[in-house]
């Protein structure tokens, strides 16, 4: 097993938004598991940190929540992306791509000397 990483500061919100975009409506536990899966189990989500992040996103109006019933007939709170959340996801994705592109340029071997 390779070393597992913590979720980098500031990226959890983006992962949550992206997960909800992909999955539609999902409960907190599902979001956490999905993030771990998507990362190929390379990321550890301390589940406790997820809920404050969900609350913050909801306060900001990017996601909305509703109580419902889970696949195993359990009552659970489901989160879904709002219209503002979709826009925010686009924005954050752009920012993130830009940031990684810049970093990649730093890390790649110099082409023009």
């Amino acid at each position: 097993m390779g070393t597992k990483g913590e979720v980098w500061q500031g990226t959890l919100a983006l992962m949550v938004l992206k997960t909800l975009e992909a999955m539609g409506s999902l409960h907190g536990y599902g979001v956490a598991r999905r993030i771990e899966q998507t990362s190929g189990n390379k990321l550890i989500v301390q589940y406790g940190t997820l809920y404050p992040a969900l609350l913050k996103l909801e306060q900001e109006g990017y996601i909305a929540s509703e109580w419902g019933v889970s696949e195993n007939n359990r009552r659970a709170k489901f989160y879904k992306l709002t219209r503002a959340g979709r826009r925010q996801l686009e924005r954050e994705t752009r920012d993130w791509e830009q940031a990684t592109a810049i970093l990649a340029r730093f890390l790649s071997p110099a082409e023009e000397a």
């Binding site: 589940y47 406790g48 889970s70 659970a76």
Partner: protein, 343 residues
């Protein structure tokens, strides 16, 4: 008027969100159940399954605390500022204030979230001596979910309270600038002279400030954080009595805080300075400066007993409070440190 409207809108937002702690417990409980079921399916024993689920969550108590912080703290600063305006503007616009208070009571009810510590590193004990004796103490109102104090009441409480061996106050953390070569922006915490001794914190170098140094006209002194000492002064013991310029004011360094030092609110603090309130003026002031008070219970005293003993000073504050507030005020005395080690 626009400011007041903005306050109303924001508070309505809080109400609309309707995030009660009960609801959150239900959400956590359902999270745990789902995780436990998955673990059982993966072949764990019942006990193992539950233990692993709780571990992965990071502890129920801690998670609830973190959640609560997220729910209240970002608003807190602004909220307190708005309340300050509301109190100040009360005489000018009593009808409006009354409406807000009445409406808010309906909306938020008696939420009395405690101002407690979310330990950033779980299960580490907090850097205060005998933390079980420490409480945060003050007034709460429907619109203010944490205990707060007002300068107009605090000094009377301090003079006449019985349940505590010490009562102290702080007036918050604000941005400040180290205005000298390689100027940097820092966070300055403002506290009373008894602050460190009440929390049971001893500087690693030098001393805390005295009552005399905590007066408005006193020459400026400061304690610096361990981090700042390390970064800026290379942990040089000669840092004591060195003069630095904070926001243009010459300030003498008299001590270095321990590495583990944290403000009760967990706000980052690089420098601790006297709050330097004019006590005589505050005693007369109405409502006075908004502050946070912390106290150490006398040994063996419970919070309930302390609360009962605080009744007379609480009634003093009630007499000062604007009429519309009076019925809404309750005195609070909550355990300050709530780190749980139950797993």
């Amino acid at each position: 008027m626009r400011k007041l409207r903005a306050l109303w809108m924001r508070l309505r937002g809080v109400v609309a969100l309707g995030k009660t702690e009960d609801e959150f417990s239900a959400e956590l409980e359902s999270h745990l159940q789902m995780h436990i079921e998955d673990n059982l399916r993966a072949g764990m024993s019942a006990q193992q399954a539950r233990r692993e689920a709780i571990l992965k969550l990071g502890g129920i108590e801690q998670t609830t605390q973190a959640y609560r912080e997220r729910g209240t703290l970002p608003l807190l600063d602004n909220l307190l500022r708005d309340v300050r305006y509301a109190l100040r503007g009360f005489r000018r616009n009593p009808v409006f204030t009354m409406t807000v208070i009445a409406t808010l009571t309906l909306g938020i009810g008696a939420t009395t979230a405690v101002f407690s510590v979310v330990d950033p590193i779980l299960f580490r004990s907090l850097p205060y001596a005998n933390p079980e004796q420490l409480v945060s103490v003050g007034l709460t109102a429907p619109i203010i979910p944490v205990e707060f104090m007002l300068g107009g009441s605090y000094y009377d409480w301090r003079d006449h309270q019985h349940p505590f061996t010490a009562l102290t106050s702080e007036t918050g953390v604000e941005a400040c600038d180290l205005t000298e070569q390689n100027a940097i922006r820092l966070n300055c915490a403002h506290a009373e002279s008894s602050f460190l001794s009440t929390l049971g914190i001893a500087p690693v170098l030098g001393r805390s400030f005295t009552e005399e140094e905590d007066r408005p006209s006193a020459p400026k002194v400061a304690l610096i954080s361990y981090g700042l000492w390390q970064r800026r002064f290379g942990r040089d013991a000669d840092v004591l009595n060195k003069t630095i310029a904070i926001d243009g004011q010459q300030t003498r360094i008299i001590g270095v805080l321990p590495r583990s030092f944290e403000m009760p609110t967990l706000e980052p603090a690089d420098i601790l300075v006297p709050q330097a309130l004019d006590e005589t003026e505050q005693r007369k002031a109405d409502p006075g400066r908004v502050m946070y008070a912390f106290a150490r219970l006398k040994p063996g005293l419970t919070r309930e007993q302390a609360k009962a003993e605080l009744q007379p000073v609480f009634e003093y504050s009630l007499r000062l409070a604007p009429h519309a507030f009076v019925r809404k005020f309750t005195s609070e005395c909550v355990p300050y440190v709530t780190v749980s080690s139950k797993m």
